[in-house]
């Protein structure tokens, strides 16, 4: 079940860890910038299918076609906002 009370700071850390490890972005996930485009950090366009699937699964959220806008997934912070908004609307 989704954790409606999810903490933003904790979520950002989780996302940093997930992205770093899943796509080998950095050795120390804590150093991953949260406002830089994840494309610039090393995530490829084609990796987005994985990002979308994993986020859906980890946070038990439904991602509609109309949610799949690059702007929603561009940075760690934006992904966090997107997830929080989805969780709140659950």
């Amino acid at each position: 079940m989704a954790t409606v009370t999810i903490e933003r700071a904790q979520l950002v850390e989780e996302l940093k860890k997930y992205l770093s490890e899943r796509f080998f972005l950095t050795d120390d996930y804590r150093t991953l910038p949260i406002d830089e485009s994840i494309l610039d950090l090393g995530v490829e366009s084609l990796d987005f299918i994985q990002v979308l699937e994993d986020i859906k699964e980890i946070y038990h959220i439904v991602i509609d076609d109309d949610d799949v806008l690059f702007e929603n997934f561009e940075t760690v912070n934006k992904i966090a906002d997107f997830i929080l908004q989805k969780v709140i609307n659950l």
Binding site: L39, S45, F48, L52, V68, F70, E74
Partner: protein
């Protein structure tokens, strides 16, 4: 270090007299390798000159000039982004090759015999998808020449578009239909240009009730289609169409002189998607034209997004080929020649420095396209079930792997499609015969080739695919393999005109040989009197490496180049002194005439006096070639020496 002694010995073998000084160039940034070579070079009283492979082509050339190096050893992979002809020939030589009068275009394509497919390893090609999406298919070329003026195009072929008669095309289709083939791929760029002939072709298919699939993977001109033409082509069996949009901006359409009527194209595509949703649509577009703005790039994306749905939309990075009007436009807009040359080895998906739009923008642009259109579940749920009806899972998988490095199942999972409902290519017109049977029938149909004892032997090589190792070296994952139709045309024509006099063996990289050692074996066993090679500009470095190796293996027969790369770049190609002659443009008549003259000359290349009478070729006159050779450097692929010795 015995092996390294061999390398230096080999490099010097027979070349000492030709060296201008006691310098040996070593292209390497590997300290261990340099150290090993250095010892061996020192031991022989020579001096090594280390050439950093990270330097620009121009810088390397200058270094080679400055030190007057006449021997350079390099590993294969260091040469992948270098211009080999420029490394081989000193800049100081400014000789131009002889170019004979233009060969007139073949106006009657029906006069060319239907290509003899028994000349190739058919079962391999039948079992793979090529440009079209189906396996077990026969690819056809039906027209030549193009009247359009797109500035990114090499415009290699005549402006006059000629097409085979509808009856002649139909005869070829009927032949293979009789063998059990049901999938036909028409490789032309603009099959629909001649509306009358192409209409008649579709009508013949319908009249004779041939139940076939037809694919147009290389493009139809989408703005000149009429609804009744679309109805007819689809009724005749068309299941796949590729449209070349290139750009959604009217200004850029004019600038690149594609001049597509975007509204008409849109209307036609919309018509197909609504009325014939089973037809698989491909769309080619490009980004990165000189002067293109971000807004204009977005127009292309918006055009694609406005169509529900395109099965395989492509966004390529513009590749600027030398000697095209696009190159002029790029130069005028501040893109340097060096940058253009450096980008030649890049794939259509790789970011290159010729782009004026920022790399960040392009990355975002492609990601937007990928996630907001390609990955849209509504789209996937619409197109994949239809594709599964028309194609086998196996074919689709291959297509998706080449297209987006994605396997079909990951997309099916992502979109939540119930695959079992659709699989097995329900509407798929399977060939009614097994591959082996089709292959046998093809072999039985075409006359067995009997050659005279002293027949001339020609090895025709298609280098428009990489061997596995080379693909790894240059990081190329493009897996599409088409049968070498052009080479079949050449050899079939010669077999008809000079029966028994020329034994032509056709091979293709990645198919008939998958490493250099195997290629060497083929050459040793076949012992050709001439090697003819055809490739595309994209594979230029690979071609020059193969030619280097053929000489490194000490084969001395003439090497002749033809096809798109040869036609557009013959001047620079001939700087590679290992190449003797280039055939420009359409090959059949020139190839025939060249062979006739060689046969008369004891299977050797004829003298300049004779060569100059053959239309459509370029070569260096003997005396110029001597000068060139004296300014030419020996380039040696070091790691291939082990397969050489």
């Amino acid at each position: 270090m015995g092996r390294e002694v061999d390398v230096i010995n080999f490099a010097l073998d027979g070349k000492i007299d030709g060296l201008k000084n006691n310098l040996i160039g070593i292209m390497s940034d590997n300290a261990e390798e340099i150290g090993e070579y250095q010892k061996q070079i020192d031991a022989r009283g020579f001096e090594p000159v280390i050439v950093d492979p990270g330097l620009e082509n121009d810088q390397i050339q200058s270094l080679l000039e400055e030190r007057q190096l006449s021997l350079l050893l390099s590993r294969n992979d260091y040469l992948s982004d270098k211009s080999i002809p420029d490394l081989m020939l000193s800049k100081r030589v400014d000789l131009k090759p002889e170019v004979t009068v233009k060969r007139p275009q073949i106006l009657d394509l029906d006069s060319l015999p239907i290509p003899d497919r028994s000349l190739i390893n058919n079962s391999f090609y039948l079992d793979r998808i090529g440009h079209g999406m189906t396996k077990n298919k026969i690819s056809l070329m039906t027209s030549r020449g193009c009247p359009f003026k797109c500035i990114y195009c090499h415009k290699l072929w005549p402006k006059n578009n000629v097409i085979r008669s509808a009856e002649n095309m139909f005869e070829e289709v009927k032949l293979y239909y009789g063998f059990g083939v049901r999938n036909f791929v028409i490789l032309d760029d603009i099959f629909n240009l001649n509306v009358k002939v192409s209409t008649n072709f579709f009508k013949l298919i319908l009249k004779h009730k041939l139940d076939i699939n037809i694919q147009f993977p290389n493009g139809l001109r989408g703005d000149i289609l009429a609804f009744d033409y679309i109805d007819l082509m689809i009724e005749a069996g068309t299941i796949e169409i590729n449209f070349a949009l290139e750009t959604g901006s009217e200004r850029l359409q004019k600038l690149i002189r594609k001049n597509l009527k975007l509204e008409k194209l849109h209307r036609n595509v919309q018509y197909i998607t609504e009325k014939y949703p089973h037809v698989v649509l491909e769309f080619n577009s490009m980004v990165g034209f000189p002067t293109e703005t971000e807004e204009e790039a977005m127009m292309t994306l918006d055009f694609i997004k406005s169509i529900k749905w395109i099965d395989f939309p492509y966004i390529h990075i513009l590749k600027i080929y030398p000697n095209t009007e696009m190159e002029h436009l790029a130069l005028e807009n501040g893109i340097s020649k060096e940058t253009i040359l450096k980008s030649q080895h890049k794939g259509y998906q790789e970011l290159s420095d010729t782009l004026q739009l920022s790399h960040d923008f392009i990355k975002k642009y492609r990601t937007k396209f990928f996630i907001e259109y390609f990955l849209r579940k509504e789209r996937l749920r619409h197109v994949i079930p239809r594709q599964l009806r028309a194609f086998t899972e196996d074919e689709l998988n291959e297509k998706y792997t080449t297209y987006q490095s994605r396997d079909l199942n990951s997309l099916i999972r992502f979109a939540g499609i119930d695959k079992d409902q659709y699989t097995n290519g329900k509407d798929y017109k399977k060939n009614i015969q097994q591959l082996e049977v089709i292959d046998k029938k093809i072999k039985a149909h075409f006359p067995t080739k009997k050659y005279k004892k002293d027949a001339m032997k020609v090895l025709l090589m298609d280098l428009s695919t990489y061997t596995s190792k080379e693909a790894e070296t240059v990081k190329d994952s493009y897996k599409v393999v088409e049968a070498p139709l052009g080479l079949m045309y050449l050899q079939t024509y010669v077999n008809k005109k000079l029966p028994g006099q020329v034994e032509g063996k056709i091979i293709k990289a990645g198919v008939d040989f998958d490493n250099f050692a195997d290629l060497r074996k083929i050459l040793q066993e076949f012992q050709p009197d001439m090697v003819g090679i055809r490739t595309l500009s994209y594979y230029r470095n690979y071609l020059h490496k193969v030619v280097l190796l053929i000489r490194q293996w000490d084969f001395k027969m003439p090497i002749v180049l033809g096809g798109p790369y040869a036609t557009s770049n013959y001047e620079s190609i001939l700087k590679d002194t290992n190449i003797d002659l280039v055939v420009i443009g359409e090959g059949e008549l020139t190839y025939l005439e060249l062979l006739e003259k060689m046969i008369q000359n004891n299977k050797k290349l004829p003298d300049d006096e004779v060569l100059k009478t053959i239309p459509g070729i370029a070569y260096f006159k003997k005396q110029d070639k001597k000068i060139i050779q004296s300014y030419s450097r020996n380039l040696i692929l070091s790691e291939e020496i082990y397969t050489t010795i």
